[in-house]
Symmetry: C2
Subunit: 217 residues, 2 copies
């Protein structure tokens, strides 16, 4: 087995994952701007970039069995390949969730999805989610386990913001049932997006630490 080729394939897998992760962080920022600025063109641009990224996700998917058969990696290389398969599923879901937000913008346009009183709360969730995605992408690029563990704090902050958002959606909410459901779904999309980003970072920690119990389902 040619060792140079071995490294090349694993490097290619790492590179594709890091790029997809950086791209997902950019996408959640852009879709949040589209949401809060009620910008249909920006929402459509997000859908286009997400559709285009499926090619990268497919390439990662196909690289995994090929790498396993050709290189039969063990130890940390094997962990990288297996974690890569699951990170790819997370990264794909992050794209799908960002696309859900873009589609909601388009479905309500030219009306706004987010009524003015809860804009600060939704904006805060968007910002925390983008920060989590940025840190997760950095974890993947630098293989820094500490960052992965610290992400739990950001995720706690996001959970608290999500609860505050739901707290606004009581029977005293004056903007109608459909707007309430839209805002609740938005909250869930951000929360799930961030969960997947945290999963990616945890898989990095598993990669670095080699602790099977941290494999993250």
């Amino acid at each position: 087995m040619d060792n140079t080729y071995h490294l090349e394939q694993l490097d290619r897998l790492s590179g594709l994952l890091a790029a997809a992760s950086r791209d997902a962080a950019g996408t959640i920022r852009r879709v949040s701007v589209a949401l809060l600025d009620v910008d249909a063109a920006a929402a459509r641009a997000v859908l286009a970039e997400v559709a285009q990224r499926r090619t990268a996700h497919r390439e990662i998917d196909e690289l995994v069995p090929v790498t396993l058969v050709r290189q039969q990696p063990v130890a940390s290389d094997l962990r990288l390949v297996l974690a890569g398969l699951r990170m790819n599923t997370d990264l794909h879901r992050m794209d799908v969730l960002a696309a859900h937000i873009a589609k909601l913008v388009l479905a309500r346009h030219p009306e706004q999805v987010v009524p003015p009183p809860v804009r600060p709360l939704v904006g805060a969730m968007a910002e925390t989610t983008a920060r989590i995605a940025d840190k997760s992408a950095l974890c993947l690029a630098t293989r820094d386990r500490i960052d992965a563990l610290q992400l739990g704090l950001d995720d706690d902050e996001l959970d608290a913001q999500y609860e505050r958002l739901f707290g606004a959606l009581t029977d005293a909410w004056p903007h109608g049932v459909q707007a309430a459901i839209d805002v609740a779904m938005l909250g869930r999309y951000y929360e799930r997006f961030a969960d997947h980003a945290v999963n990616v970072a945890r898989r990095v920690a598993y990669l670095v630490g080699g602790d099977m119990a941290r494999g993250v389902l």
Copy 2:
């Protein structure tokens, strides 16, 4: 390499996946009964069984790298192992979503989550989802690719039911904002649960067909 041992590990992996899949189908039926009967004890029983099943999911997770290193499987065996890793993620998410429904029952108890006028719609979604889960479990047990492809029709039916449910949640909805959000979230939980069950069946099709493009992210 001892070939008997090889088969034993792959058989163990298949057996664990098939069992987890059957169990998930049973769980979605039981949590739907808890939901529609407003039965707190049944909801708590669902949370307990889901918590217990984490052990099986962890065992599958740990079996995958061990099998790859010890047996270095190729062709259909390799596909089984890789598909198993992702099916396990799907099966775990199905449990988490069933647990979300159980927690909603407990959070509103002794009040009901589902107002009487939408009970038939929620009941229909619950029934379709359970049917999808049953068929998905059967696909996994029998490795029948045809069933996997037919599941798309059941999923279309569920999507139509989900849309009808959302159609009831307009500004004319008389049961308040919180009940509307609860029902919308319930619809989403069933829809996501079924998506994961369909993913499992599609991974079976990929396993049987060996078509990489059907790998399902």
